[in-house]
C-alpha cells in the first residue's frame, strides 16, 4: 500500500497554517504509477497527468492521437492526491484528468486552472461544468462488487440496510474478507465516503459493521476488484463501477458480480482542467473537446468509461451526480478532514 503524503496529523495542519504558498516550495518528487509516451510526427508534446489507468484510458489516447498524429502525447498516471499536489506545485502539465472532483474543484477555485471555451464545452449540461474551468466527461457510479463463489447461498443485498444485515448475520463468512477504500490515502475513497456520510445515515452503521469484520483497506479500485475476482475478498464496498464493469467484460468466468445499492448511489464525475501553467493550451483544449464528444455520445458503447448522463443507467431512484460547487471543499478543509478521519478510524479500526 502506498502512502501519498496526505497524512493529516497535527503536522499537516501546521503546514496548512504556514500558508498555501508552502505547497510550491515543498515540492517532493512525483510518485508516478505508470507512464507512456506516444511519439508524434511533430515536435509539440501534450503532457497529460491523469488518475485513469492506461488499461481503461489508452483507447481515448489512441483515438485522439489518430486525429492529431503530429502531436506527441505524454501520459502520466498518478494518484488523485499526487495529481492535486503536482498541479499546485506548478509542475509542467497541459491537462489534468482526475476522478477526485473535490480536489479538481479546489484547484479551479484557487486559481490553478485556466478557462477554456468551445462549442463542445458549451454543449455540456450545467451540472457537468463549472465556470469554463472544469469539465466532466464521464459519470461513474460507486458500486459493490461481490465474489459469487463466496456469496453462495446468501441473499444478494440491494440496499445498505440489507447489506448490514447480511454482514451482521454471517460474521464468519466475511471475517477479513471485506474490502473498501482506505480513505486516508485515496482521494476518491475519501470523496465517496464523505458524500455518502452526508447523504445517508446508513453509512456509519455499515462502517461499524465492517469495522468488526477486520476490513481490508485499499488505495485503489483495481486491487480491490482483483482480490474479489480471485476470491480473496467476498465483497468490495464503494468500488468504481466503470473499472469493475471493464474487468467483468474482460474475464468474467462468473466469479464476480456488480451490485448497485438502490437506496443511494454516489455518482462521481471524472473531470478535466487545463492547469494555469499549461503550455500546449490549444492541444489540451482539443483533447477536452474529444473527451466531451465521447462523453456526450449517443451510439452504443465501445468505450471503457461510461458516458455523461444525469442519471446512471438502470437506476430506479435516479440519483444525480455529485454536485460541483464550493461545498465540495468543505471536506477538504484540514479540520473537517481530521474530524472525519477520526470518526472513520473509530468505526473501521476496532481492533
Amino acid at each position: 500500500m502506498r502512502h501519498t503524503g496526505f497524512s493529516f496529523g497535527l503536522n499537516a495542519v501546521v503546514i496548512w497554517l504556514c500558508g498555501l504558498c508552502l505547497w510550491a516550495t515543498a515540492a517532493v518528487a512525483l510518485e508516478i504509477e505508470d507512464h507512456r509516451h506516444y511519439p508524434g510526427t511533430g515536435d509539440r508534446v501534450l503532457r497529460i497527468v491523469s488518475t485513469a489507468d492506461l488499461e481503461v484510458f489508452e483507447p481515448y489516447l489512441l483515438y485522439f492521437h489518430a486525429a492529431h498524429p503530429a502531436l506527441s502525447i505524454d501520459y502520466t498516471v498518478v494518484s488523485s492526491a499526487e495529481l492535486h499536489r503536482a498541479i499546485r506545485d506548478g509542475r509542467a502539465f497541459d491537462l489534468a484528468l482526475s476522478s477526485a472532483m473535490d480536489l479538481q474543484f479546489q484547484l479551479a477555485n484557487d486559481g490553478f486552472a485556466q478557462s477554456y471555451r468551445s462549442s463542445a464545452t458549451e454543449a455540456l449540461p450545467d451540472w457537468a461544468r463549472w465556470r469554463d474551468l472544469i469539465f466532466a466527461f464521464t459519470t461513474e457510479p460507486a458500486v459493490v462488487v461481490i465474489s459469487t463463489e463466496r456469496f453462495e447461498g446468501l441473499p444478494l443485498p440491494a440496499t445498505r440496510q440489507e447489506l448490514i444485515t447480511v454482514l451482521r448475520d454471517n460474521p464468519d463468512w466475511f471475517q477479513g474478507a471485506v474490502g473498501t477504500y482506505d480513505v486516508r490515502n485515496s482521494g476518491l475513497g475519501y470523496l465517496f465516503a464523505t458524500q455518502e456520510a452526508r447523504s445517508t445515515d446508513a453509512y456509519w452503521r455499515l462502517s461499524e459493521v465492517m469495522g468488526r469484520l477486520d476490513p481490508q483497506l485499499y488505495c485503489c479500485s483495481r486491487q480491490m476488484i482483483d482480490d474479489v475476482a480471485e476470491g480473496r475478498l467476498a465483497l468490495a464496498y464503494n468500488v468504481l463501477g466503470s473499472y469493475a464493469a471493464e474487468r467483468l467484460a474482460q474475464d468474467s468466468g462468473g466469479r464476480m458480480r456488480i451490485l448497485r445499492m438502490q437506496d443511494f448511489t454516489n455518482v462521481m464525475l471524472r473531470t478535466a482542467i487545463i492547469p494555469a501553467g499549461a503550455v500546449e493550451v490549444e492541444a489540451a483544449g482539443q483533447m477536452i473537446d474529444a473527451l466531451l464528444l465521447v462523453g456526450l455520445r449517443q451510439e452504443p458503447d465501445i468505450w471503457p468509461l461510461p458516458p455523461l448522463r444525469a442519471t446512471a443507467e438502470g437506476e430506479s431512484a435516479g440519483f444525480g451526480p455529485i454536485r460541483m460547487g464550493p461545498a465540495l471543499m468543505v471536506y477538504l478543509d484540514p479540520l473537517n478532514r481530521r474530524a472525519f478521519l477520526e470518526e472513520w478510524e473509530n468505526a473501521l479500526e476496532q481492533r
Binding site: V13, L17, G19, D110, R131, G325, A327, L328
Partner: protein, 458 residues
C-alpha cells in the same frame, strides 16, 4: 406657408425628449437597483455562511475547534458559480482556510456583528463577510474571526442581465411614448385644423361668424376671427351701400342730361353739332348703363350674403324674363323661342331674374336683326337643371371665354354696342351663390353663343 416649425412636430419632439429622458433615467435606476439587490443577496448569503461557520466554534480540551458545515458552502454555490475562499483565525494565528485572505477590520470588536468589505484576492475582486465570536479556551476567552469571501462574477452577470432587460424595456417604453406623443400632438391640434378647414371651406362672400365648439384655448382666436369677419362684412356693406348711393345719385342727373341732349339734337341743324350731341348721348347711355349694372352688382353681393331659399320654377322664370325683354327683341325683329320643362330650384327670385336677364340681354344685344334666340330649360339628369340661352349672333370670339366673366371685361365684338362689362359677372355671381355654375360655349351648329346657367339639385 412660412414661419417657424410646425407645432405638431415641436410638440412631438418635446414629448419624445421627455420620454427619452425618463427612459434613460428609469434604465439607470433599475440598473442601479438591480446591482444593489444582487450585491445585497450576496452579502446576505455570505453573512449567513460566515455565521453558520462561527456557530460551530467550540472549545475542546483547551483548544478551539470548529467544523465547516456543508450548508455554509453549498448555499454559496447555490447563488452563483463563484470562487469561494475562507479563513478562520484567532488574532493572527490561522485555524483553517486561506492564510493570505485579506480580512475586513472589525472595529469596534463586537460579537456576532457581520462586517463586509470588498478587496482583491488571487487576481479577482472578492466580497468578504467577517464575523467575530468569542470562545472560552483554556479558561480565557479567545476571539475567533470567521471570514468568507466570494468572487463577484455571478452578481455582475445577474446585474448585467437585469440591466439589459431594463434597457430593452426602456427602449420599448420610449417607442410607445413617441407614438403616443405624436398621436397626442395631432389630437390636441385637431380643433385648430378643423377651424382652419371650416374657414377655408367657406365661399368668398361668406362672412358669417364661426359657430362651433372649440377648446377654451382657442376661444380668443375664434372671437378675434369672428370680430375680424364682422368688421370685414361691415366695411364691405358700407362700400356697397356707397356704390348704390353713388349709382342712384349719378343716374338721376344723367337722365336729365340725356333728355336735354335729345331736345338739343332735335333743334340743332348743323351736322357736326348733331354728331357731337349723339356721341354725348351715347356716353351718357354708357354711364347710365354702368351705374345700373353697378347697382345690380351691389344688390347681388348684398342679397347673396343671406340668400333667400324660395321655390322657383325655372320655366316660369324663363317666361317672365323673355316677356320683360320682348320689346327690346322686337326692336331688332328677334324672335325669342321658349323651350321649357318644369324644373324647381330653391333660391332668390330677384337675383335669378337679374342673372337670366343679363344673359338674354347679351344674346339679343350681340345678335343681328331678324334672328332667333332660344331660351331652353332642361333637366338632363336628376341632379342638374339648366337654362340655356342660344343665339345666332357672332359668338363669344376667339379669346379665352373665362375672362368674359371678369369685372368690366368686354369682348372685341362690342363696337357701337352699349355695355359696361358687368352682365356676365352678375350672372356668374348669382349662379355661384346658388351653388351652381355658368357655362360659356358655342351654339349647337358652331354658330352663335350658348350661355348656360347650371343648377345643381340637392
Amino acid at each position: 406657408m412660412t414661419g417657424s416649425a410646425s407645432i405638431e412636430r415641436r410638440l412631438t419632439v418635446l414629448l419624445a425628449g421627455v420620454a427619452a429622458l425618463l427612459s434613460i433615467l428609469s434604465w439607470g435606476m433599475v440598473t442601479g437597483l438591480a446591482r444593489q439587490a444582487a450585491e445585497r443577496t450576496q452579502d446576505n448569503v455570505l453573512a449567513a455562511s460566515a455565521t453558520a461557520i462561527a456557530e460551530t466554534l467550540r472549545s475542546e480540551q483547551g483548544e478551539v475547534r470548529l467544523e465547516l458545515p456543508y450548508s455554509a458552502f453549498s448555499m454559496l454555490g447555490a447563488i452563483s458559480e463563484d470562487r469561494v475562499f475562507y479563513r478562520v483565525a484567532t488574532g493572527e494565528a490561522l485555524l483553517t482556510g486561506y492564510a493570505d485572505l485579506p480580512v475586513p477590520a472589525i472595529s469596534p470588536p463586537a460579537q456576532g456583528r457581520v462586517v463586509f468589505d470588498t478587496g482583491d484576492y488571487r487576481g479577482a475582486q472578492v466580497r468578504m463577510a467577517s464575523v467575530m465570536r468569542q470562545v472560552l479556551a483554556g479558561g480565557a476567552p479567545v476571539s475567533v474571526t470567521v471570514t468568507v469571501a466570494q468572487t463577484r462574477n455571478g452578481i455582475r452577470a445577474i446585474a448585467g442581465e437585469l440591466s439589459q432587460l431594463a434597457a430593452m424595456l426602456s427602449v420599448a417604453f420610449f417607442v410607445v411614448a413617441v407614438t403616443l406623443s405624436a398621436v397626442a400632438a395631432r389630437t390636441s391640434l385637431r380643433p385648430l385644423n378643423e377651424i382652419a378647414q371650416a374657414v377655408s371651406r367657406r365661399g368668398p362672400n361668406d362672412l358669417r361668424p364661426l359657430r362651433r365648439a372649440a377648446p377654451a384655448e382657442l376661444a380668443p382666436l375664434m372671437t378675434a376671427l369672428n370680430r375680424l369677419m364682422e368688421r370685414l362684412g361691415q366695411s364691405l356693406r358700407r362700400s356697397e351701400d356707397f356704390i348704390v348711393e353713388a349709382a342712384h345719385r349719378v343716374r338721376t342727373p344723367l337722365a336729365t342730361v340725356r333728355a336735354q341732349a335729345e331736345i338739343a339734337l332735335r333743334s340743332v341743324e348743323d351736322e357736326t353739332e348733331k354728331q357731337r350731341l349723339r356721341r354725348m348721348i351715347r356716353a351718357v347711355d354708357e354711364s347710365s348703363r354702368s351705374a345700373g349694372q353697378l347697382l345690380d352688382h351691389a344688390t347681388v353681393a348684398y342679397r347673396a350674403e343671406d340668400l333667400a331659399r324660395d321655390l322657383i320654377d325655372l320655366a316660369d322664370l324663363a317666361a317672365q324674363t323673355a316677356d320683360a325683354l320682348a320689346p327690346t327683341a322686337a326692336m331688332k325683329d328677334i324672335e325669342i323661342r321658349l323651350e321649357t320643362v318644369p324644373a324647381t330650384v330653391r333660391g332668390d327670385a330677384v337675383l335669378l331674374e337679374n342673372a337670366l336677364r343679363n344673359v338674354l340681354d347679351n344674346a339679343i344685344k350681340y345678335s343681328a336683326e331678324d334672328t332667333t334666340v332660344t331660351l331652353r330649360v332642361r333637366r338632363p339628369t336628376d341632379t342638374e337643371a339648366r337654362i340655356e340661352v342660344i343665339d345666332q349672333g357672332p359668338g363669344l370670339g376667339t379669346g379665352p371665354v373665362e375672362q368674359l366673366t371678369e369685372r368690366f371685361r368686354r369682348g372685341q365684338n362690342t363696337q357701337g354696342i352699349v355695355g359696361s362689362g358687368l352682365g356676365l359677372t352678375i350672372a356668374e355671381d348669382v349662379i355661384r351663390a346658388h351653388g351652381g355654375r355658368l357655362e360659356l360655349g358655342q351654339g349647337p351648329d358652331g354658330r352663335g353663343a350658348c350661355v348656360t346657367l347650371v343648377f345643381l339639385l340637392a
